[in-house]
């Protein structure tokens, strides 16, 4: 199960009808055993990339090697080495979890005995033993996702692709899934390629993050490196009296450039190393009162904003209009 080769891509691209380049020449290098977070809004090219790397969609140009095999020339070998839980929890509502696992393991050529044992192991691992013989149509979103991942692990793959695994899940299910993905990578040496549109997910889970925007990778590095690159913290002040908002804005603007924040607050990204005490003194001198004032360290959303000129949330709305089906 321990991966030796990881994932490499060079100028990988996919063009759809009408000349739309959903993925426009990306380079990737994912080391064995690494959790790589591929972050971007809907329609940015995340799923198209996953479909190419998992051999489901031939690239228009460029090259990619997964688990040491070329995705175009050695499709069957790549598929034997990888597991994938794609964006949709692709399950048959009329089958039970155990039937899904038996079907999947028989398609991977496991013997009857192996099928039975592997199915039971995986059901226990993802906490579905109680519901194993119930039809999937009665499952919650979290249960479906857990089964989806169990199915991807049936043949003990060395590389796991998870396409937005926690979209639509509640906080508890999301955190349980993060735990399981972490165990797979750190405990068993499985390389994980994870796409997400959640900053927190990439921040918490990924060893390295690639930010994709309109088919291009605009930033790549560990979450800490990326945030350090931005470097500048944000100061957010909530006026005690809303009529003082303009005055507070004037004072804060001396320390940085205005930026988006909470609706009831005034926010600026500091120009240089910020000293909160200086800001408080300046507000006091101007006889302005704040109910709350906070210094925020940079987040991945700040990185996204700096690299693309838009916040991840805004980009999601914008790019949904251009979503390309694969």
């Amino acid at each position: 199960m321990r991966d030796q080769h990881g994932i490499q891509a060079e100028t990988l691209a996919r063009e759809f009808k009408g000349g739309i380049r959903a993925v426009d020449g990306i380079d990737l290098h994912v080391s064995p055993g690494e959790i790589y977070g591929f972050l971007g809004p809907n329609g940015a090219g995340k799923s198209t990339t996953v479909h190419m790397l998992t051999t489901l969609l031939p690239p228009t140009s460029g090259k990619a090697r997964v688990a040491g095999y070329d995705v175009v020339k050695h499709g069957p070998r790549v598929r034997a080495a990888i597991g994938a839980a794609l964006q949709e929890a692709a399950l048959d509502p009329f089958l039970t979890a155990r039937e899904h696992l038996r079907l999947q393991s028989s398609l991977h050529g496991l013997t009857r005995q192996q099928r039975r044992e592997r199915s039971q192991d995986l059901l226990e691992r993802v906490g579905l033993t109680q519901a194993a013989d119930r039809k999937v149509k009665g499952y919650s979103g979290g249960m479906k996702r857990r089964l989806d991942i169990a199915l991807a692990l049936v043949h003990e793959p060395s590389i796991l692709f998870l396409d937005e695994p926690t979209t639509g899940l509640d906080v508890q299910s999301r955190s349980a899934l993060w735990g399981e993905v972490g165990r797979l990578a750190k405990g068993e040496g499985v390389t994980v390629f994870l796409t997400t549109q959640y900053l927190e997910e990439a921040d918490v889970l990924a060893d390295r993050v690639g930010i994709i925007h309109r088919g291009h990778i605009v930033a790549e590095g560990t979450p800490t490196e990326l945030k350090a690159e931005i470097g500048r913290p944000t100061v957010e002040a909530v006026p005690s009296d809303p009529s003082q908002r303009a005055g507070i804005n004037d004072v804060l603007s001396k320390f940085g450039t205005p930026t988006a924040g909470a609706p009831n607050a005034v926010s600026v990204r500091c120009e240089e190393e910020a000293d909160l005490a200086d800001i408080v003194r300046a507000l006091d001198a101007a006889q302005l009162h704040v109910a709350q004032i906070q210094l925020h360290e940079p987040t991945l959303d700040d990185v996204f904003l700096a690299k693309t000129g838009t916040s991840l949330e805004g980009a999601a709305e914008e790019e949904e209009l251009e979503t390309v089906s694969v």
């Binding site: 598929r79 399950l91 009329f94």
Partner: protein, 246 residues
């Protein structure tokens, strides 16, 4: 196997599909009984004349179920899951046909049993009933294949459903209600003559009402096998586009 299990776990879909042709059979065999008085009508039992239509309608329903189920697999990504396994592409089509054939077999058995209980007598005896049963299952296979082709081509259950009335139209423009030589309107007779469905119906009909007819049976089986070959060929070609794995 999955498609067979899944088909039979949707009673809300299959029960109406089995009962509707029986209801139509009951209504028409009484309501259109007067047609048997037409000079040249080949039998005095409209039930004997009309029972093949139940098998044809059953096959059309089996086609819709197979197509809708596969379209759902495409839509929810299940086909991608299968594509990531070592499974051959052809197995997707054959597996899906399993559900259509299983349903077609059950339907044919029910229609045959109900027909015989209601008084249908086979001129060709037990052997003729067995041949009709085989032909009915093959027709279900052929129409099931067309449903699968439509699902692979469009990837949409709604699209499969919307083409279903067109297939029914094909049934209505055949020798379903009258023998071709008794259809007065020339345009209708010409369409029914050019419609392969007429020959499938007539092959089954001769087994019930007129005895062994090599020509009718030959044409019925020929068009059925042609439909199976066409449906499988089109499905295989569409699968290459739909399952474009490397």
């Amino acid at each position: 196997m999955r498609s067979v299990v899944r088909t039979f776990r949707q009673p809300a879909m299959i029960i109406p599909n089995i009962t509707f042709p029986l209801l139509l059979l009951a209504i028409n065999s009484n309501g259109l009984r007067a047609a048997t008085h037409l000079p040249g009508f080949p039998t005095n039992s409209f039930l004997d004349f009309f029972i093949p239509i139940a098998f044809m309608q059953g096959a059309l329903f089996a086609s819709a179920i197979a197509g809708i189920d596969l379209a759902r697999d495409i839509d929810n990504g299940f086909l991608n899951r299968l594509a990531l396994t070592p499974m051959r592409g052809s197995a997707v089509i054959l597996g899906q046909l399993g559900g259509a054939v299983a349903l077609g077999t059950i339907q044919a058995a029910v229609y045959l049993a109900v027909g015989i209980a209601a008084g249908v007598r086979f001129e060709t005896g037990v052997a003729g009933a067995a041949v009709l049963f085989i032909l009915a299952v093959l027709i279900a296979l052929g129409f099931g294949g067309l449903g699968i082709y439509l699902a692979l081509r469009t990837g949409s259950g709604e699209a499969v459903q919307s083409t279903f009335p067109l297939l029914f139209f094909l049934l209505f423009l055949s020798s379903m209600n009258l023998p071709r030589d008794l259809i007065k309107a020339a345009w209708f007779r010409d369409i029914a003559t050019a419609n392969p469905v007429s020959y499938m119906i007539e092959a089954m009909r001769t087994l019930v009402i007129s005895g062994w007819d090599a020509q009718a049976l030959g044409l019925g089986f020929l068009f059925t096998f042609a439909m199976i070959a066409l449906a499988l060929g089109l499905s295989a070609a569409s699968l290459k586009t739909r399952m474009a794995r490397t």
